[in-house]
Symmetry: C2
Subunit: 286 residues, 2 copies
């Protein structure tokens, strides 16, 4: 049971956790914090949080669990704002999509990485953002990755794990660097490709016509290009090294495919497309 | 009213048209043709076609409308097989995803492009294939592009247009080369990117783990990588020049984005992602 959860950044991720914890009846009070009072008032009206304090230092007072779910670029300033204001039994976790950068932000803000800080990342979300998009089922059957460090308090990790399990997620632990590589491949690269494709087509002379003749596949393929640009800017900066590596690898593979297209190498194209279809069909079956 | 429709290649595209024309009650008889008797028997059992003839020359006998919906690589041999066997009032059309190559195939097979041939392309489909995936609503609200040539009989074009409008589609006419450029951008390039991404990730050492941590966005983004590899091999060969050009343009744009990632150029990343989100949101609203 969580006595008081403080969520800093009440959007899709934090808001959905709040709704789910309420449904599971494992949290007594939820306090929100963020920059916009109007937005936080809306979160209260929607029943997502009980009350709010735009000052993070005030919001965390007395909270035994603190989730920071702000864009990666805002993590360090939030950590600085709450440093020294956390309750004695508080556990701090986050929902950042890249872990190395959050850990460095914590090191800078707190002077050293606190033992009560459990870096985390729920692998869930939609292309929507904002508290109005929050829904309690978001984490059901999804995975949450925690990346505790050598000095992380085991009991703190356990409490964060229990919170995510209470909302239906499966929790795994992983080295932060490995997390950042895996996510660069499965999430960051696809988002970068979708954003680039749509922006690229929008710059074509006849873009109105181009989009008019796009079929259903295009709609699905580009759904993630409707994601929050600020969040993705921050992810690209925070996980720059791993993302660069994945983009370069992808460009190499795309060049190989382009050579096969150019050479009318049907056998190679069929091999590539069959391997892709097999892998994708296997993935979907799971 | 169509007296007798002959569909050569009874898969998702041809089968869905057959189902829809039956629902609209604008077609008296539907004859199927293809290479697999078992497959055609299934189409009869499913009520998609009335009867079949594995010999295309026999199947087209007496048909006033003939749709060829086979992979692009098989178009020429089908045209050769039916040449000289079409009824005097027959209109011939196709459903190929690239038009220049089908027109060349018709020129080679018939000696010259017949006036009764109306090249066409319904912009519809799913990642599924086969007659068992066919459904009558597939074309409702979707677009069909016809690319008649200078010598195409206007009445033939009108009859093909009426057929597609009867199943709920909106029909546009376009120059074949322009069609091939537009589709390379909106359909062929996205498919190539999805196939390449999935194949590329499947080759990563820890691909099992990679796919395990893929979230919902990945599922949507890669849906089109479950498409029929033979069909897509043929499209890449048939529309090679336009696809190459789009791949090269995309690689250039991706390189530009990668430079911004490398330089931690948040302003440029935010501009790009915002332009993409705006374009995608506008496209979805339509």
């Amino acid at each position: 049971m969580i006595r008081r959860l403080c969520i800093i950044g009440v959007g899709l991720i934090g808001g959905s956790l709040a709704r789910a914890l309420r449904e599971a009846a494992v949290c007594r009070e939820i306090v929100g914090s963020g920059r916009s009072p109007a937005h936080l008032r809306q979160a209260v009206e929607l029943g997502v949080i009980d009350r709010f304090d735009t000052d993070p230092a005030g919001a965390v007072a007395g909270a035994d669990m603190v989730l920071v779910s702000v864009p990666l670029g805002a993590m360090e300033s939030v950590f600085r704002a709450i440093s020294g204001h956390l309750a004695g039994d508080a556990v701090l976790t986050d929902a950042g999509s890249a872990k190395g950068s959050v850990i460095e932000a914590a090191r800078r803000a707190f002077g050293a990485i606190p033992g009560f800080f459990v870096p985390g990342h729920p692998i869930a979300g939609t292309e929507q953002s904002g508290v109005e998009a929050a829904f309690p089922e978001l984490y059901r059957g999804r995975r949450v990755i925690l990346t505790p460090l050598g000095n992380t308090d085991g009991a703190a990790t356990q409490r964060v794990r229990a919170m995510w399990e209470a909302v239906g997620a499966t929790v795994a632990e992983m080295d932060p660097g490995h997390h950042d590589t895996v996510l660069a491949a499965t999430s960051h690269l696809p988002h970068v490709l979708a954003f680039t494709l749509v922006e690229s087509l929008a710059r074509l002379g006849d873009s109105e016509e181009i989009f008019a003749y796009a079929a259903g596949g295009f709609r699905d393929f580009t759904r993630i290009a409707s994601s929050d640009p600020v969040m993705w800017r921050d992810i690209c900066v925070a996980n720059s090294a791993a993302i660069q590596q994945m983009i370069e690898r992808f460009i190499g593979d795309l060049r190989g495919l382009n050579q096969a297209v150019q050479a009318h190498d049907g056998a190679r194209l069929l091999d590539l497309f069959t391997a892709a279809k097999d892998a994708r069909d296997r993935y979907v079956e799971k």
